[in-house]
């Protein structure tokens, strides 16, 4: 891993003056040595934006709509559909939130348990704000007033076969429970384009066992295709106004909220699909 000083130097070379100004003041809780308690470092955020600029702007040519619906302050949960065999959708959403919010906010990705155990990748992601998907981590971040980025479909969403593209998998209820417990809104997000970025030949269950997940998809193409990404944000679902924290243990309410979020994401996906004239346009 690069040291924070080297990351800062590299980011300085990659970022435009406007972007440097923009990124100057994002919410960050320094735990004492320039890192937050989960390992996020501002230089890594700057470097991430610098490195992904070309991919975001020129390769995937991301169109973003409705980012003003993301709360400017306080805890909130972004709940998005997950697809594409590699978590590029998470990277684009992370970039988009930092670029489109005022003041800029870092979407703290909640990853599956196997991600922090991956050499290099786990460390790299944690410097960018990702945390392992345990209830304790999510609780701590929401207590700190952070914006979370959750993919309620989990691994089944990202590895689903080509013929199931844009069909939402079962939404887990963890995000609903945390939102009710902490009294924060859920912002539905529809991501269009990721489904076609990396079509897979088949999924290997044997490889999946190594990583402790269901299966690992084997892609048809060596690099992701330059599809056009569309990221649509929906109206925040104000669960904090409808439920009190004691209702966070009611399985029926959790299911109901998760279904509502799923329906909202579905509407955004349909809107995005009707807006586009082709996969690459």
């Amino acid at each position: 891993m690069l040291s924070p000083e080297r990351m800062a130097k590299l980011a300085h070379r990659l970022l435009s003056p406007e972007m440097k100004d923009r990124l100057h003041n994002f919410h960050f809780e320094d735990a004492g040595h320039g890192y937050d308690a989960f390992g996020m470092h501002p230089s890594a955020i700057h470097l991430g934006i610098g490195l992904f600029s070309w991919i975001y702007e020129s390769y995937f040519r991301v169109i973003s709509k409705g980012a003003d619906k993301i709360p400017a302050h306080g805890s909130a949960i972004l709940a998005a559909n997950h697809s594409g065999n590699l978590p590029i959708d998470a990277m684009m959403l992370w970039n988009d939130v930092l670029r489109q919010t005022h003041p800029p906010r870092v979407a703290r990705g909640i990853a599956d348990h196997f991600v922090p155990a991956l050499p290099f990748i786990g460390t790299l992601f944690s410097r960018g704000g990702m945390v392992g998907g345990s209830a304790g981590n999510v609780r701590s971040l929401l207590n700190q007033g952070e914006l979370l980025m959750i993919f309620p479909e989990g691994v089944p969403g990202i590895i689903k076969p080509w013929e199931q593209r844009y069909q939402l998998q079962t939404f887990r209820v963890g995000h609903a429970q945390m939102a009710i417990q902490h009294g924060c809104p859920i912002v539905p997000v529809g991501i269009i384009g990721a489904e076609e970025q990396l079509p897979s030949l088949f999924s290997s269950k044997r490889l999946g066992k190594i990583f402790g997940i269901e299966a690992v998809p084997i892609p048809l193409v060596p690099v992701p295709l330059p599809v056009r990404y569309r990221i649509y944000y929906g109206e925040p679902i104000p669960v904090q106004e409808r439920y009190n924290p004691s209702q966070a243990d009611d399985p029926l309410i959790l299911k109901e909220v998760a279904e509502e979020v799923k329906a909202a994401v579905h509407v955004l996906i349909q809107k995005g699909l009707s807006d586009r004239t082709g996969v690459f346009q």
Binding site: P116, L118, G136, N137
Partner: protein, 315 residues
């Protein structure tokens, strides 16, 4: 208020005694050292120095119902522990666990002692990839079958104290402290950083937290003066990744695959007799584990304020 401090000749015990001396609410300190470890605390009319063998329950009984009763001790701060990870066996267990069991039992029926503040360790917690990085007091404990006695003793001592909470008028406070990065405090990392070259697992750079001796003493002082009981995490002011720790200590490091590191440190321990055991720290070198100190902040009003004395920052 009169306070008894065990382990008073250890770096942490000494720091506690010195802090209590500056506290006007503390009238007298009964400083008890482990037999054979010389005191470095200067003489003071507010301090009575004595020494006992902690593994001897008879000596402990004589102390509590003799000198401590005479001095009307109200609060006992227990910091005494066998620090070395290399020492194992019944004698070490008697010091770490049985002496604590006896201390709790004697304190419960003691006529003047009303509060017992016990030093525990963040090492009692399990660290693994699917557990929270920020460790709260209800985090799973390290009950691994293959854990070394150093860890098992600390978990058992912690349990022993927790099991008596609320069962008598004695208020029991357990302080689970982050690693104190100092000599003589049982710090595995201190010994790790003592090497001229630090080996670390390739591809991992977990977040770690360290406590300074000053903040550890501060936590004991706060716990002495409140009326609350329970378990409290005591984090330090330094939260940083492993590579930064090594760099601030002024050591070079080499990242290498895991089996290599394990064997290199095994050989080092065999040749040099150091305290650091890679097997004991393996998970900490892969996954983050930071003590969440919110409860201590809310209840004890403890806020870490003193950073570890990093050699590179001094220069």
């Amino acid at each position: 208020m009169n306070v008894l401090v065990t382990g008073a000749s250890s770096p942490i015990g000494e720091q506690v005694v010195q802090r209590l001396l500056r506290d006007s609410r503390v009238a007298h300190i009964l400083a008890v050292a482990d037999k054979g470890v010389p005191f470095s605390i200067p003489e003071n009319p507010r301090i009575t120095l004595t020494e006992i063998k902690f593994k001897s329950q008879r000596q402990l009984h004589t102390l509590l119902f003799g000198l401590a009763l005479k001095k009307s001790v109200q609060v006992v701060i227990h910091t005494s522990q066998a620090e070395s990870a290399n020492r194992e066996g019944d004698s070490v267990h008697a010091h770490n666990v049985e002496s604590l069991r006896a201390l709790v039992k004697f304190s419960e029926r003691h006529p003047t002692i009303r509060r017992l503040v016990i030093r525990s360790s963040g090492a009692v917690y399990q660290v693994q990839r699917d557990l929270p990085a920020l460790i709260s007091e209800d985090h799973p404990l390290n009950m691994a079958a293959g854990a070394p006695q150093w860890v098992r003793d600390r978990v058992e001592a912690d349990f022993t104290a927790c099991a008596r909470m609320g069962l008598s008028t004695l208020q029991v406070v357990v302080l689970r402290m982050a690693e104190i990065l100092a000599s003589g405090c049982g710090s595995q990392m201190y010994d790790y950083l003592d090497s001229s070259l630090c080996l670390r697992p390739i591809g991992f750079d977990p977040m770690l937290n360290f406590l300074s001796l000053e903040d550890a003493a501060q936590a004991f002082q706060h716990a002495t003066h409140t009326s609350e009981q329970g378990v409290f995490n005591i984090p330090g002011a330094d939260t940083l990744p492993l590579t930064e720790v090594i760099s601030l200590w002024g050591r070079p490091s080499v990242a290498m695959p895991e089996p290599g590191i394990y064997w290199m440190y095994k050989v080092r321990q065999h040749l040099r007799g150091g305290q650091f055991r890679y097997g004991m720290n393996r998970r900490r070198f892969h996954y983050p584990g930071i003590l969440d100190g919110r409860r201590a902040m809310d209840v004890l009003r403890y806020v870490p304020s003193q950073s570890v004395s990093w050699p590179e920052l001094k220069e």
